[in-house]
Symmetry: C2
Subunit: 151 residues, 2 copies
DNA sequence: CCTATTTCAGGGGTACTGACATCG
DNA sequence: CCGATGTCAGTAACCCTGAAATAG
């Protein structure tokens, strides 16, 4: 308990507030590492790398992003030559989004930056503690994403 | 591990992303409980209740909010009669912000809403697990807020 | 008909930046 | 002169809504 932290105990103890504060630190640290990329850009590229070329709607479901935000992210990435949009032959509503070789290389770089950001963020925790935190957060997420998913 | 969650493992395992996702759920749940109040409003009122009347700059340090956001929050609360701004006699740059009796009553209501939101958010965790999660997050926050504080 | 996909326009809450005048 | 305070204007990233056009 730092003696020079003026935050009232009442606020500091609220778990949802701890989450929000920690997420703010996480965002600041990750954004610094990603430089001129946004977390949306990284998420879309990582999903494409793992799932292969797919539609924008599928990307939105995988990244848990709104469809309209996918449009913007794919626009940005396509303008930088990191992904390509091509029409889907079997379903003409869809675009198929694919990672380019340049995108693949950039993703490897961003993967490393994200990994470094985790170390910055969780520096005070041991590997066991980090795993435990991840496990607890995973349980919370699984519970709520399952609730949302069944609407 | 839900079989119908399309999120790639690579993304789901990133701890900073878990934090961001959990914070998003937290915000949604808390905002629903707070109804027509924002988290900023609650934080300012709770800080005033715990620290007593104080300047806006002090409120910003306690709530870890920017001074400009304090202005807006105090504007809103004053317009609803929940706080009052009065000039500081000893330092004419400052306003002294105080919680009114109406603000005190509303705060008690909001405290209960926030408490209910914690149960919604952390439903899948046992009391011991919630305490452990709070402890781990507290360590991370202490580390980073201490870093920021020493600038 | 009804649903799904892409796209656009826009809003809302949070975090932050720069500037300014005032005052200690 | 320097720094702190309150205020205002504005930005940025993220999350979300509604609506349109197109297509299964």
């Amino acid at each position: 308990m730092p003696i020079d932290d003026p935050t009232p105990e009442r606020l500091r103890r609220i778990p949802s507030r701890q989450l929000t504060q920690a997420a703010a630190h996480a965002h600041r640290i990750v954004a610094h590492r990603l430089a001129d990329f946004r977390t949306h850009h990284y998420a879309v590229m990582a999903a494409l790398d793992e799932a292969g070329p797919c539609s924008q709607a599928a990307l939105g479901r995988m990244c848990r992003m709104d469809r309209s935000d996918i449009v913007t992210a794919v626009d940005d990435l396509a303008a930088r030559g990191l992904v390509v949009r091509s029409p889907d032959e079997t379903d003409r509503r869809r675009n198929t989004v694919s990672l380019t070789p340049e995108g693949s290389g950039m993703l490897r770089h961003l993967d490393e930056q994200v990994r470094l950001a985790q170390d910055d963020l969780f520096e005070p925790l041991s590997p066991e503690e980090r795993a435990h935190l991840a496990s607890l957060l995973g349980r919370v997420l699984e519970y709520h994403t399952h609730l949302d998913g069944t609407h």
